[in-house]
């Protein structure tokens, strides 16, 4: 049954030349001396949300991890775990999304696996993608290269994906325009690589949102980070939805954004480089690496106060209090 699924549905949707023969493993060449390599699994619920689905997310998420190493994503593997009883039209839609996202991101699905598990074994679909990227330059410096004075940027408004997924859960009945920002960020990274050694660090703020990534940067660099609340770009629909549900948008996931650390002097050049890319609309300088030792992220608030932006813990939950 799985064989039929692979031959009749999966391969036709995804084959770009290498999948068709269904080899045990694919041999790839032309990747250079070093490669970027990553893997990620996707278990999002609901499977379909405004702006994407688990399929497009699985492509973008892995491509973005590769891009954040300064590498061009080129090949993906696709591991599917399907819950018995998953409607075929849903699987079809997800595969079309995978194919569309991959084509748009310029990556090829070159190998994969499919398993069916009994009802209750997976939330409809679980997907794993592993990705290979080609380094087209020296790659990024180690995190220790981050210094006091380095500027921190974000490529656009935050929290859109997390809030869109939250709002589209069946238990909430909101009307909203919010759409996930799920996208491949390689075009942004490609531009930013022009900064050369001025580009210090990249990360896509997925689970745990901007707060998680800023805390990671602080702990990797060993210096406290300071950000300005008023500089953090936020769509007004995200702000409103966050207020209604009592969720902090700085903790909500992003799937088409990057947090960038650059040498102080090139912060404005970075913004210039991103200026005409639609995906980076709203990009802004939000803060800096301070000279203080430590691993905290300090948020300077809109009323002139300050507080710690803590490492998020646990799932995002709506609250009434």
């Amino acid at each position: 049954m799985t064989g039929k699924l692979i031959r009749d549905l999966i391969v036709p949707q995804l084959d770009r030349g290498r999948l068709g023969p269904l080899p045990d493993s694919v041999v790839l060449s032309g990747l250079g001396e070093s490669i970027a390599y990553t893997t990620d699994s996707f278990t999002v619920s609901p499977l379909f949300f405004p702006g994407g689905d688990i399929g497009s997310l699985a492509v973008h998420g892995t491509c973005n991890d590769i891009a954040c190493s300064g590498a061009r994503p080129v090949y993906l593997s696709l591991g599917l775990i399907l819950e018995e009883g998953l409607p075929m039209d849903q699987l079809q839609t997800i595969l079309e999304s995978v194919a569309g996202a991959a084509d748009e991101a310029g990556v090829e699905i070159v190998t994969g696996d499919t398993k069916v598990v009994p009802k209750g074994g997976a939330d409809g679909v679980f997907i794993n993608t592993s990705g290979i990227g080609r380094l087209e330059g020296p790659g990024l410096p180690p995190p220790e290269s981050m210094n006091a004075g380095d500027a921190i940027l974000v490529s656009g408004p935050v929290g859109n994906h997390g809030m869109a997924v939250m709002l589209s859960r069946a238990e909430f009945s909101f009307d909203f325009d919010l759409v996930s920002d799920s996208a491949s960020v390689w075009p942004l990274v490609e531009r930013l690589l022009e900064l050369g050694p001025g580009l210090k660090f990249l990360r896509d703020p997925t689970r745990g949102g901007l707060a998680a990534t800023l805390n990671e940067i602080a702990s990797m660099g060993g210096k406290e980070i300071a950000v300005e609340e008023t500089a953090i770009p936020l769509d007004s629909a995200v702000e409103t939805a966050a207020e209604i549900l009592g969720i902090d948008p700085l903790l909500a996931a992003n799937e088409g954004k990057i947090v960038v650390v650059v040498e102080k002097g090139v912060a404005h050049k970075a913004l210039e480089l991103l200026k005409d890319i639609p995906l980076a609309k709203g990009a802004a300088i939000i803060g800096e690496v301070t000279a203080r030792d430590g691993d905290r992220v300090i948020l300077n608030t809109r009323v002139g106060g300050a507080r710690v932006m803590a490492e998020p813990s646990g799932e995002l939950l709506p609250r009434i209090c």
Binding site: T301, G305, A306, A310, G314, L317, R319, C321
Partner: protein, 359 residues
């Protein structure tokens, strides 16, 4: 409002607070009763704008914090022993009971739904008329009428399988106890509870207990304005009741909301985690709504649970101690592995301290 204006106004108010506090002979201590105020004060970074001798102490107005372990245990047992589908606000999910948290129960396969509005519980009940649906009823007067209205609606629609496990708390009984504390100068009163109960009903705080009291909204500027008024009154030795949230809070509150509450519920004694039983501080179903009472319909043996004796939530909830003085704080007790409810509740004092910290 433009950022520059917000900052400017905040600066001005903070300046006025500093001037007034400079005239005080010692420390000024005010209790913010409502957990949402605790959150807002931390989140907006207000603490860094206030003078050293102004101490804000968190009170027991955190419905999750004061919900006892037995409630969580009772809920889980109804799920396990009676096949009930549990429906709850997100706030309760990580509170530890003695049998674990609702999140833990869900991870084991328990049927529990997080909703935004109690009305959603009716839809969930109607999905499966053969299965009991139990709504976990926590909250103060802001939330209580929403559940009462839901129950009224359920009765009118003939919904037969919806129940509520009540653990509601009302504001005045604990406030009267706290007003006796000599070391508190006044109270920052909860803006949205007050929208329901009104501003006038707090008169006793200044009349009988000589405490300053201000009804406050939840924006940073609303809170700063309220603090300015609290400080000024206290320093002048003229404690009064002031409503600084008039755009939402009427003197008489919302009588329609209150009549909905008392159509469905009667006052009853309630157990507050950390404070013990406070007479008349809770609510119980009255006819013809007793058919919705989960306690009557689903008998369970709730284990005798004792709070960890090292947990200082009781003191923290009454403002007697700050989180950093609890031996478990940040060590055995963290937001990921909470010992007491003050740490797990999103608005709990300990959670706020841990997350926002001292800058």
């Amino acid at each position: 409002m433009k950022t520059s204006n917000e900052k400017g106004a905040a600066q001005a108010l903070a300046g006025q607070i500093h001037s007034a506090c400079a005239e005080a002979s010692g420390e000024l201590r005010f209790m913010e009763v409502c957990g949402t105020h605790t959150m807002a004060i931390h989140q907006t970074g207000l603490k860094t704008l206030l003078p050293e001798n102004l101490r804000l102490v968190s009170g027991p107005g955190c419905p999750v914090c004061v919900t006892e372990m037995g409630f969580i245990d009772h809920s889980i047992l109804m799920g396990k022993e009676h096949g009930a589908c549990l429906v709850t606000f997100g706030d309760l999910i990580r509170v530890p009971g003695s049998l674990g948290s609702l999140a833990g129960y869900r991870a084991e396969g328990g049927d529990i739904r997080v909703i935004y509005s109690p009305m959603d519980a009716i839809d969930i009940a109607l999905e499966r008329p053969d299965r009991p649906t139990v709504f976990l009823g926590v909250g103060f007067e802001t939330t209580i009428p929403t559940v009462a209205a839901t129950v009224k609606t359920a009765l009118a629609r003939g919904v037969k399988n919806l129940y509520v496990l009540p653990a509601f708390k009302t504001i005045h009984p604990p406030l009267k106890i706290l007003a006796e504390k000599e070391d508190l100068h006044g109270f920052l009163l909860p803006g949205h509870v007050s929208a329901i109960v009104g501003a006038a009903c707090y008169e006793y705080l200044c009349r009988d207990f000589r405490k300053s009291a201000v009804v406050a909204g939840f924006g940073a500027l609303d809170i700063l304005l309220a603090l300015r008024d609290l400080v000024s009154m206290t320093v002048a030795g003229e404690p009064e009741l002031i409503n600084d949230y008039k755009q939402v809070v009427r003197s008489e509150g919302n009588p329609t909301a209150r009549s909905i509450i008392y159509e469905v519920f009667d006052p009853a004694d309630a157990v507050w985690r950390g404070l013990g039983t406070i007479p008349g501080s809770g609510l119980a179903f009255k006819e013809p709504y007793t058919q919705f009472d989960a306690v009557a319909h689903f008998p369970v043996e709730v284990p005798e649970a004792e709070d960890d004796p090292r947990c200082q939530c009781a003191s923290i909830l009454t403002g007697a101690r700050t989180p950093d003085k609890c031996g478990l704080f940040g060590k055995e007790c963290t937001p990921d592995e909470p010992v007491g409810p003050c740490m797990v509740s999103s608005e709990g004092t300990c959670a706020a301290y841990y997350k926002y910290g001292k800058v």
